[in-house]
């Protein structure tokens, strides 16, 4: 599993995050590690820095981790989580500037083919164009 870039999906809603991860798994299979993460620390809508850190660590790959986020708070909390994981790990984690569902599918497809982290990010972000 860890010879490929992993994917983390962060949404304000746990259902959206899980649903997006399910879609990705159905489309690209189990070739890559995917984690989903949503909701604040009390289970309501929002995002949780500690949970994001855990998700990234759960699918950690030496090839890197691509993170997909939905709204602003998810991005800010993901940036915070990456920073708190330390500079060494942070170098191998990127947040993709892409829509969460479509971006996750594109990123996962690219990652499943064995591409490096930068290519995975690029593919997710190109979706918008």
């Amino acid at each position: 599993m860890t010879d490929k870039v992993s994917i983390v999906i962060v949404s304000h809603s746990p259902e959206v995050a899980k649903g997006a991860a399910d879609m990705v798994r159905q489309m690209v299979g189990d070739d890559i590690a995917i984690a989903s993460c949503g909701g604040n620390s009390e289970g309501g809508l929002g995002t949780d820095v500690a949970a994001i850190m855990k998700s990234i660590e759960a699918v950690w790959s030496p090839r890197g981790v691509a993170v997909l986020v939905d709204l602003g708070g998810a991005e800010t909390n993901s940036e915070m989580a990456i920073e708190l994981l330390g500079p060494e790990k942070a170098k191998q984690i990127v947040i993709c500037n892409a829509p969460v569902v479509e971006g996750a599918v594109m990123a996962a497809t690219e990652a499943a083919g064995g591409s490096d982290l930068e290519t995975v990010r690029q593919t997710a972000e190109d979706f918008k164009a």
Partner: protein, 201 residues
């Protein structure tokens, strides 16, 4: 007032202000955001209040850093890392509570720089910076406590005609105009609470 008492008073006063205005913050956020700012701030500052006794026994700088990390972990929205990073940066900038106007300005400036970096933003984008920066300027200009409060309140009102370019409100474009920014309002609440503590001192 000794520093441990003042630490505890600051926590109580900020917590009380947030608690009293949480619904207002949420209403403001429903207009141009995702409607959770009051709940998020209340959750975050309740978590800080729960650590009140431990924080009171730390140095001012350590307490700020610890409270900042609690906000980062508990708030659940973008305001967590924004306020949390501000508190952590302020805590890193000083060990002791400021005792002069210049030290107070330095402290606030450290917080503002952290918010700018975390939010990749600056003044004029209809955010908390549109309160924090005018408040810093008023402190630097020699304002007394009443003037600082006034500067904060006027700055909140001044966010109304602004066009949001950051956060959820940015999606609304022109429709964000005519509403007060919730983050600007919560920043002003904290400024007022700090002013309360200074008046008690």
């Amino acid at each position: 007032m000794t520093s441990d008492v003042l630490n505890a008073r600051l926590i109580d006063l900020i917590g009380d202000r947030i608690e009293a205005h949480a619904d207002e913050l949420t209403e403001l956020d429903q207009a141009i955001g995702d409607g959770d700012h009051g709940d998020n701030m209340r959750r975050g500052f309740r978590a800080v209040s729960a650590e009140r006794d431990a924080l009171a026994n730390m140095t001012f700088g350590e307490a700020l850093k610890k409270a900042g990390m609690t906000l980062v972990m508990k708030v659940g929205g973008a305001s967590g890392p924004l306020y949390g990073s501000a508190f952590m940066a302020m805590g890193k900038s000083t060990e002791a509570m400021p005792e002069s106007r210049a030290q107070a300005a330095q402290l606030l400036e450290a917080g503002i720089e952290a918010v700018k970096a975390r939010g990749k933003s600056d003044v004029g984008a209809k955010t908390m910076l549109d309160v924090l920066v005018p408040v810093l300027k008023s402190i630097e200009a020699g304002a007394d406590i009443a003037d600082v409060r006034k500067a904060a309140d006027e700055a909140v009102e001044a966010t109304k005609p602004m066009l949001a370019t950051k956060g959820r409100a940015a999606f609304l474009g022109e429709r964000s105009v005519g509403h007060i920014d919730p983050g600007a309002r919560s920043s002003a609440l904290i400024v007022h609470a700090v002013c309360d503590a200074l008046e008690e001192k």
